[in-house]
């Protein structure tokens, strides 16, 4: 009895994804939390379920011309252009800081060709402290007319297969929402060897300055993120959970525990918080605390008992 009371007082928030043990299901979304260090004055990185880094490429990338961001109604557009220090500099300069923490580090990465993807994965494979890789397949395949890998089931499967061969780390494949049928993509990447799927990346969007008649982003189009996109993200996660067996990580417009819970209830094993970090550097700490409160209030001893309990 006293044991049961204690359990309710301190619900279990730990989840496991592809062998990765997370203290809780909350982690940042790639590109919104820098290399971890940037937010370390404001939030204790040891609290997080995992740390997900900015996307890494084989060579350093300078990124797009400016303006790169613009605010929209309850959302923002970005076309950063995947600016990053390159995988080698990352390993050399950024991993030491991240390794101080008792929190798994998930390295997000991408390439412009299938080969590049494989090579980045290979370079990260033997890096101690890298707990898992998250593969961003929302990039144009420069060898095939710039079609985005993640919108074509064949291309997506092929690139995942080739990365799978070059890494022994758990491989999370991050899906783009800008497709007709996400379930086809989800199954294709699962079969190609993904250990987990994460979604959604940003919705493609655009905004215009009506005075100058120019796009608000130098790149014309960009990725829409923030609370505005959450209903689309929840729907896609729901569909993917039904289509695959591997665990799914939900992303899109999460700002508070209630938002995170929508994803967990539809079946996401964990969630990533993106744009909300910009608004509240301690958003994830608040979410973790409030998740715990919610479990206590609802008498949930283990968050795993809540995951996927959507009633249809």
């Amino acid at each position: 009895m006293s044991n049961a009371v204690e359990q309710v007082l301190k619900p279990k928030l730990a989840v496991e994804i592809a062998g990765l043990k997370l203290k809780n299901p909350i982690m940042p979304a790639s590109g919104t939390f820098g290399y971890g260090e940037e937010y370390s004055p404001y939030i204790d990185l040891n609290q997080l379920g995992a740390i997900v880094t900015k996307g890494m490429s084989l060579n350093p990338k300078a990124g797009n011309n400016t303006p790169r961001i613009c605010e929209t109604v309850s959302g923002m557009l970005n076309a950063i252009g995947l600016q990053n220090v390159g995988v080698d500099a990352f390993i050399k300069d950024k991993m030491a800081f991240l390794s101080q923490y008792d929190t798994p580090v998930i390295v997000n990465f991408f390439g412009n060709t299938q080969e590049e993807y494989g090579e980045v994965a290979a370079r990260l494979d033997d890096v101690p402290g890298v707990a898992a890789l998250e593969m961003n397949i929302s990039c144009p395949n420069v060898k095939h007319g710039g079609i985005v890998f993640g919108t074509d089931p064949q291309a997506a499967a092929a690139v995942v297969t080739s990365v799978r061969k070059r890494t022994t780390k758990p491989l999370i494949v991050k899906l783009t929402p800008n497709v007709t049928d996400i379930q086809i993509l989800a199954r294709a990447t699962e079969e190609a060897g993904a250990d987990a799927l994460s979604l959604i990346n940003t919705l493609t969007g655009m905004a215009v300055d009506i005075k100058t008649r120019k796009p608000r982003l130098a790149n014309t189009i960009g990725g829409l993120s923030g609370p505005a996109i959450r209903p689309v993200a929840v729907r896609l996660v729901h569909q993917v959970v039904q289509a695959v067996k591997v665990p799914v990580i939900g992303i899109g417009g999460i700002t508070c525990a209630a938002d995170a819970l929508e994803f967990l209830i539809v079946g996401a094993k964990a969630v990533q918080v993106g744009t909300a970090n910009f608004v509240n550097p301690d958003a994830m700490a608040t979410i973790i605390a409030d998740l715990e409160k919610f479990c206590v209030e609802e008498g949930i001893a283990d968050i795993n008992d809540l995951i996927g309990t959507l009633e249809l």
Binding site: T32, G34, A62, N65, C70, N78, I80, G226, P227
Partner: protein
């Protein structure tokens, strides 16, 4: 650097569309340096979504309500209402909750060996120069050249004068001071070479002109830039500006929230480079 959940102390219109806002901000009197900024969150809902960056106008203390308590530290912002975020700010009253991330960014660094300092401010660009002036007047002779469209855009100059700063004004419509651009005043002053150091903040066309004048006169220049910002801490990479040596083929970007907002003019690229468009909205 901290994220303070704090309150507004006062919020007053000082010129049509321009406001001064005092915010309770413990720690700032020690930590804030001239040229730094804060990211302010003005409401709980998601419109506006992002925080808004504002330069630190000044920091200080106000007496506590009771003698036995320590005085309260405040930070003061001066802002112009231009859109949704600042519209919301204008409505804030004493006691309203706000969130304050900061102090952020690089500050100005003065060269102690140079006895004369020139500040150049355009419109709301005056803001970060005030706190700088409070420091500079301790050791140097300080002049301020300030410009704006009309006299309503010339704000807080009596504050500068009270510090002992020599203020010269130019307005485009001639409603206050000289008629024309503020850069004319700077040009005149730098006509005959002399040892000085320039600190400027204002709209890009003004900074472009200031940079040309200083480069010609071989005078050292620091500028404070305004870039669109999402995070303010170096995480989003949304706020970059072009660094010295930037080309289309070898772009060089500097984060204006961490390497800036104050830059040495030489570290920036002052050429107008063409925009490059990519297919796909890569992040």
């Amino acid at each position: 650097m901290q994220d303070l959940k704090t309150i507004v102390l006062s919020n007053q219109e000082i010129s049509p569309g321009y406001y001064r806002m005092k915010i309770l901000a413990s720690g700032y009197s020690e930590s804030a340096k001239p040229g730094q900024f804060v990211m302010l969150r003005v409401q709980r809902s998601f419109t506006p979504l992002l925080r808004r960056p504002f330069g630190v106008f000044q920091v200080g203390f106000i007496p506590a309500d009771c003698d036995t308590l320590p005085p309260k530290e405040f930070i003061e912002l001066v802002y112009k209402v231009v859109g949704g975020g600042t519209e919301t700010m204008r409505e804030l009253q004493s006691g309203d909750a706000v969130e304050l991330l900061g102090p952020l960014g690089s500050g100005f660094t003065a060269d102690a060996s140079i006895a004369e300092k020139i500040l150049v401010g355009g419109g709301i660009g005056l803001v970060p120069l005030y706190m700088l002036a409070t420091e500079l007047v301790k050791t140097s002779k300080v002049s301020l050249f300030v410009g704006g469209r009309t006299r309503d855009d010339i704000i807080t100059i009596s504050e500068f004068e009270r510090l002992g700063v020599n203020v010269s004004v130019a307005t485009e419509d001639g409603s206050l001071g000289e008629t024309g651009f503020v850069t004319r005043l700077l040009e005149q002053r730098l006509e005959e070479p002399h040892q000085t150091e320039v600190f400027a903040c204002g709209p890009m066309p003004m900074l472009d002109a200031v940079q040309k004048i200083c480069a010609t006169s071989e005078v050292s220049l620091q500028v404070s830039l305004e870039a669109l910002m999402a995070c303010g801490v170096g995480a989003c990479l949304g706020c970059v500006v072009k660094g010295e040596g930037h080309t289309i083929n070898e772009p060089r970007y500097l984060c204006s929230c961490t390497s800036g907002p104050v830059f040495n003019a030489e570290s920036l690229d002052w050429n107008k480079t063409e925009a490059i468009k990519m297919v796909g909205g890569g992040k």
